[in-house]
């Protein structure tokens, strides 16, 4: 267990914010791992991808969309939150040669952001494809950091307010030239984009599901397939071969 004291809440738009915490105990993480975060006044902690961790400074990129995330949005500096981290399996290393694509649907950028910056530093050629509902979900300060970090960035919005108008799957080239693809976003987006990525040598997907414990104990966050897997323990990152058996992808 760990604990984090709220340093600040930086709001980018109506519902998008960065929660910055000062950790009681230093820890480390690999991109793709997550934390269970206390949501004050709510019965369950919430899982969030780790967005940044420098020394004891930890931050999450969060979209307020329900009572748990809203309870965090309204916190004041100084408030202490119970945390469990790092949890889950990180994104595996990319194939040694060739291009890397990051496909982010909305807030899915939260786990791909640290991965992208790391891979660029390691010398990989990284392209980021980021789709969101509208421009307000593509915060400018983040885009700026991608540019600085050397990521080639392609954007789309459903309402056309920024980048290409349309969905993320229309933004990515039909000819898959990447050797490794990392995808993170809502299940509906993953369902639509999954069949298009089958020809990629390696494709990894970070999934979200409702969780209670984050440790594999409560068995809430299961993927319904022949051999049941938990998102918290065996995931949240899965290879495309794992998901071929996932029944949610077979249903329209």
């Amino acid at each position: 267990m760990n604990e984090g004291e709220v340093i600040s809440i930086k709001r980018f738009s109506e519902d998008l914010f960065i929660l910055e915490l000062f950790l009681k105990e230093e820890t480390s993480f690999k991109p793709g791992q997550f934390a269970m975060v206390e949501s004050p006044g709510r019965p369950l902690m919430r899982p969030f991808s780790i967005f940044q961790l420098e020394g004891k400074k930890l931050s999450f990129l969060i979209r307020a969309k329900g009572p748990g995330t809203n309870s965090l949005l309204n916190l004041r500096p100084g408030k202490r939150l119970r945390l469990i981290l790092p949890l889950g399996k990180p994104y595996p290393e990319p194939e040694p040669e060739g291009e890397v694509w990051l496909l982010a649907g909305g807030i899915g950028i939260a786990s791909l952001f640290p991965l992208g910056l790391l891979l660029v530093k390691e010398g990989f050629k990284v392209k980021l494809f980021w789709g969101a509902k509208s421009a307000s979900h593509l915060p400018f300060p983040l885009l700026w950091r991608f540019k600085e970090g050397g990521l080639e960035t392609f954007l789309s919005t459903e309402d056309g307010s920024m980048g290409q108008k349309g969905l993320l799957e229309d933004l990515i080239p039909s000819n898959i030239t990447a050797k490794t693809i990392y995808t993170c976003g809502p299940v509906e987006m993953i369902k639509r984009i999954f069949p298009k990525l089958l020809s990629a040598p390696k494709a990894y997907f970070s999934l979200e599901e409702r969780m209670a414990c984050g440790l594999g104990a409560c068995r809430s966050c299961v993927l319904w397939m022949e051999e049941i897997k938990t998102v918290c323990k065996e995931g949240p990152v899965f290879e495309k071969e794992d998901l071929l058996k996932w029944q949610a992808l077979k249903r329209p």
Partner: protein, 308 residues
Amino acid sequence: MASLETTIGSIKLKTPLMPASGTFGYGDEYYGLISYEVLGAIVTKSLSLNPKRGNPPPRIHELPYGILNSIGLENIGLERFLKEKLPFLEKLDLPVVVSIFGESEEEFLQVGKRLKNPPICALEVNLSCPNVKEGGMLFGSSPERVHRIVSLLKNTTPLPLWVKLPPDPFHLREIVEAAEKGGADALTLVNTLPAMMINPHTGKPLLGGITGGLSGQALFPVALRMVYEAYKYTHLPIIGSGGIYSGEEAISFIMAGASAIQIGSAIFSNPHVFSEIHNYLIEFLKKKNLTDINMLKGKFHDMENSSL
């Protein structure tokens, strides 16, 4: 320091605190994250003879006043438990209570008779499961069914039986007496309350299993009242469970008649809940100048009787 030691029949517990079945996996998941020192026992997830898939997701739905779940008793089955989980539990210096269930009486008995060696000190009999042969009626839904399964198990295993009952507020006395007559060694009160939620916008259920069990804050007063009532009808030790989040709530249960308590949902917002309640109990006893937690047991009944 005041003593938190308690007994459930012949079993001595270092503290009256233990996890509620289903919220603590098979006991190894929280190891290293929280202190096991403050636990009196480990209670495992319910085991059946064969592995069970459980219900399709979504399996959990949070409410402002509790948690709705329909895990559907997913478990790894008896064999894998013995091979993969028991060796870890053997290394802990803690009594282990294994929760068991079956879809038929035969399955119940087959699980029961295979679990007998230390560190397993008792079996918790989960009666909130359907008897498939009886058209899915819950084992705990009538005094006759409760009596039958408990007495069959009693003849099968030498281990003490902790009979865990669903929170049926209207047949409590009959069911408690049936369990006692069947040979129960203790009662765990209560399991989750059958419940459901519908999304009115889509017309779909909010749980993959359609119905599930309600736990957490909303269950607390219901469970407390059942412990209070049951204490009047039976001499069996009672393990109280249902929406306990704090030391105050734990003490309420003990005053209502519980010899020990189980904590479930509270783990999901605060895994440190065991340590926090443990410390609260110690402080509480100190403040009241009491030396032993058992001095509080059933205290509410004494007060009630003396005021009449």
